[in-house]
């Protein structure tokens, strides 16, 4: 199992390294199109721009984290209500589907009209982008308790608290984490997109300006940073999951295990 995973990792790392080396060689020969920089040029740009990058990253990350935390808190609270109040689940679920049906592309300009291009808009867009997966994961998870386990708890005359603590919450965790992983990446991307509508600073702004001034290495650098951020947020949740959900099979066949 571990050997297979290592082999897979080797293929991935080797593949990425191979492509980077090929791009670098092409760049050295001058065979790359104008819009594709050599990887070393992107690295140089990264070192040059590190102060500006930090300046732009701070508000984006802050908006993503605050929006994500708000969305997670709201989604878990709603799932708790759905668990405790009979019949609330359908209503909440429909509400969530409605929220999810609002395209971010439509919501962001409206929010800019209402709140301006300040941090509020970015936080709300990040929250909108991360709310739905968490709620679906939480509700699905609380619903996913095995019938025979439920019967066992019934036979053992377990109380409501014990049932929640020992049966329902642990059973929900893998599903919840599937939602948390997707939404963590979503929050980062939501914050970036909202900056395209207008912001004074932020990674999305930096990306757009680099594009408009045709600073090719800077566009690629911003892209690489945003991909690393999104995958990093996803991976952070994955790491947390591996520490918390120890009983889940380690081969990644848990429910909804997929990249963002």
């Amino acid at each position: 199992m571990i050997a297979a995973r290592l082999a897979g990792l080797g293929w991935t790392v080797g593949g990425i390294g191979g492509v980077l080396a090929m791009l670098e060689a092409l760049g050295a020969m001058g065979a790359l199109p104008q819009s594709v920089p050599a990887p070393s040029a992107v690295a140089v740009q990264f070192v040059q721009d590190r102060a500006a990058l930090a300046h732009h990253l701070a508000p984006t990350l802050r908006a993503a984290v605050i929006g994500w935390l708000a969305a997670v808190a709201l989604a878990i609270a709603m799932a708790g209500v759905a668990l405790l109040v009979r019949g609330a689940e359908g209503v909440l679920y429909n509400f969530a589907v409605g929220v999810n049906a609002i395209p971010l592309i439509a919501a962001a300009p409206i929010l800019v009209v209402w709140f301006g291009t300040g941090p509020e808009t970015r936080v709300i867009v990040a929250a909108l982008a991360s709310f739905f997966p968490v709620l679906v994961g939480a509700i699905q998870g609380l619903r996913a308790v095995d019938r025979s386990h439920r019967e066992l708890f019934h036979v053992l005359a377990a109380g409501r608290i014990d049932r929640l603590r020992l049966l329902e919450l642990p059973g929900a965790l893998p599903y919840l984490f599937a939602g948390l992983k997707i939404s963590a990446a979503g929050a980062v991307l939501g914050a970036i997109v909202s900056e395209w509508v207008g912001a004074d600073r932020g990674l999305g702004m930096m990306m757009a300006y680099a594009l408009f001034s045709f600073n090719v290495p800077q566009v690629w650098m911003c892209m690489a940073v945003s991909v690393v951020l999104a995958l990093g947020a996803y991976g952070l949740m994955g790491g947390l999951e591996a520490r918390v959900v120890r009983w889940s099979p380690p081969d990644g066949t848990g429910p909804g295990d997929s990249a963002p």
Binding site: V113, V216, V227, P260
Partner: protein, 259 residues
Amino acid sequence: MTRGGTGELPVWAGVALRGVASIVVFAVAFALLWQGAVWALAMPPYLMPTPLDAAGALVGQGDKILANALFTLAEAGVGLIVAAALAVVLGGLFVASPAAHRLAFPWAVALRSVPVVAIAPIVTLMVGRGFWAGVTVVVLAAFFPILVNCMRGYVSLPRGALEMMHVLDARPAEVLWYVRLPYAVGFVFSGLRTAAPIAILGAMLSEWLTGNRGLGYLILDSAALRELDLLWAAIVVSMLLGLLIFWTTATLEGALRRV
């Protein structure tokens, strides 16, 4: 697969009718909610227009909205068709050759984990600002869900069909043409159904950056100029566009499954 219970109507027509009905119900409910929100929150018109204002803009600036909507729809449509064609060919290759699968499939997965937000600026750099930038973003965003479905379609065949072809001594190409492709069609369309909303969103997102034409550009522009009637009209049209393309693919899927 089975005949519909609705008398004379074929199944796909039922699906189409239900699609139209659901769009109408959605639009009416949306307008009522919207008007209710404006009244309940006492929203001034410089923050939120009423549905009637937006309808006025829809009629008054109809040709502007229509031209931009058609541009976005064309980007999404062409992108979806190209993505489906690529998925059918590459999916067949991946199913037929384990080596190709091993070599190229991880790249398809990697492509999928690069978000559209990050791809769009690069595509704009490489393709330039215009129609084809939108199409390229749509292809990149829509390719993976269609590919996965398509590959599942090629593989999940009834055993009997393959055995029958074996008995008939069919060549691999004939198996592909007579068995695998017909069975994959339904799967391709369910992939298209998943990809359709992504396609509209991807096209509009790329228009935010290219900023020439299209519904995404119109939304951003009218927001910047505080033409709120036009903004809301364009947003409603973009939602209807998403529903329209979703139900078109669903209806086509139903019609093809009947054949």
